[in-house]
Assembly symmetry: C2
Homo-oligomer: 331 residues x 2
């Protein structure tokens, strides 16, 4: 929620968070709220709706909040769509958004749409929580490890996919990647962007996470730095491993400084949670996610003594994350 209106979201706790947390007038409860919207980045309107919803909810999940009590949908309907296009595309986006909210156990009870030349889709996620339902992301301690719950490279994968139609762009990367690789990476990116971080949030409580953020527009390092900045203890984050959608590291390299993927600056959409966990719990956390969801999570770095900064080591290990084969699913 920190994009666009810098730092305005920080008023209550004075730290960089993905949600605003507001003390309520009733029963020691807090209002945890976030809003976010996106421009369409995949071709399938239904999946785009799911991605937009998962992306909004991710801000709640980063605080360990698993119950979204209400969702509002925000739609920017393009004036450039023909009536036919609009009547096909918009309902599909709305259905994807609502299906994803349903999957997360919350209703879309309202919203607003407005005409504008560019399509946007997003929402407002709200949860009313007791103190034990959320984890303020400021408690990392020396010796913690950093876990990432989704692979990086969504923007690279989406771009590469679109470049299949642009000869000059394609020529820049065709030596390092095949059409099939790109199709697989695009499918994997859609899969991961539409996936909810809800289980990852639930398990944060079970394994005593010390705080988390979700990886979106500022890239892995940008969000790691935000998280480091807001720590109570004198710690810094050091990232050694970069789990990246298969072949996308090569694509990024072939494009020079364009993506800054290995530098940690490539924006992600509906990315994973970056979580500070006690060292002895991290492996079990990752195993538990794989057991319950069939998705991998990775230990990518450590928390050491420092001045609340984050960095990626000189030669990080790139973990090639293969396209996921999920029979009977849309991808």
């Amino acid at each position: 929620m920190h994009l666009g209106i810098p730092r305005i979201a920080l008023s209550h706790l004075g730290i960089g968070m993905d949600c605003s947390i507001t003390p309520l007038r009733h029963g020691g409860l807090s209002l945890v709220q976030t809003t976010d919207f996106l421009y369409p980045l995949v071709e399938d309107p239904y999946i785009m709706g799911k991605i937009a919803c998962a992306n909004v909810l991710s801000d709640l999940y980063a605080l360990g909040v698993t119950e979204c009590d209400n969702m509002l949908m925000l739609l920017g309907v393009s004036t450039k769509l023909s009536e036919k296009e609009r009547d096909v595309v918009i309902p599909l986006m709305m259905r994807g958004f609502k299906d994803c909210a349903y999957e997360a156990g919350c209703n879309v009870t309202g919203g607003q749409s407005v005409l504008n030349p560019w399509i946007t889709i997003g929402g407002v996620a709200t949860s009313v929580c007791q103190p034990n339902e959320f984890i303020i992301p400021n408690d990392a301690v020396i010796g913690d490890v950093l876990v990432l719950t989704k692979p990086l490279g969504t923007q690279v994968a989406v771009s590469a996919y679109h470049w299949l139609e642009q000869q000059d762009r394609w020529n820049r990367i065709k030596l390092v990647v095949s059409e099939e690789d790109v199709h697989k990476a695009y499918q994997r990116a859609m899969d991961t962007m539409a996936r909810l971080n809800r289980t990852c949030a639930r398990l944060m409580h079970k394994y005593n996470a010390h705080g988390a953020t979700d990886v979106t527009g500022f890239g892995l390092l940008g969000h790691a730095q935000n998280l480091a900045k807001s720590q109570n203890n004198e710690v810094s984050f050091v990232i050694h491993n970069l789990p990246i959608i298969a072949k996308m590291a090569a694509v990024a390299k072939a494009c020079g400084n364009m993506f800054q993927l290995l530098q940690g600056h490539s924006p992600e959409t509906s990315g994973g949670l970056l979580i500070c966990l006690p060292r002895e719990q991290a492996a079990a956390y990752c195993k538990d996610i794989e057991k319950s969801e069939g998705y991998q999570a990775w230990i990518i770095g450590i928390v050491e003594k420092g001045n609340r900064k984050a960095r990626i080591i000189e030669k990080p290990r790139v973990i090639e994350v293969p396209a996921k084969e999920k029979d009977g699913e849309i991808w």
Copy 2:
């Protein structure tokens, strides 16, 4: 909140309401929420911000909710603004929005902005309420009267003001209105659109209101019909009086069917509350508002036996509402 995504907001109570009301997991509380945004319609960015905020809050106030626990701001920043324009206009709009929220006793704790060719500004208002804090707008009884808390004609006034610069348009109305009248009407429109319906909401409890809605995009009659449709009792609404910003009825008439102001279809922005009140309480309600705010409210119609419809009588009485002289204020 009912614009754009038809009926999606009605899921919980199954009636047309300005907010969604969601039962919470804690202590018998309900989440009352609304979102709305606007395109700029006045020249002053600061006032535009106030209008956008007052317009969002109005949906809460229509349910008698006086405490907004959290506000999020939604900004669509135009790609067509020069950097200079953007750096002047956007902060002013944001300040107006925040000042209005502050006046309403709530904080803007976050939000989101996005680039799009057309500027939009709006927000998300949230209140966590006990059952006695809101009034479900479905309890009108035969013999009630209808009270309106702001004059009509904001759209006509804003249009007339812009027509001062358009000779052909101006020629259509200059016989019925003077430049000074138009300037006064425009000031009055800005004043009324930026005004909070909060006191009106608070007094709904004191005078046992049976339900209310706020008058916005569907015009007076459209919103009256929505309200009538959702009544428990077999009632209908009949409107006899139309309080209209001075001279704007004449302007609307001079424009033929363009505005449909006297037919009740002219859209309003951040309009007044339309409230069903027990007949014996209505006069006291209006007096109380005038005493506490210095603004008039009007009894404009009655609730009679019927099939949940609303209508305006053949020859409604037009009440000319003079421009308000408020020394030392921005208008």
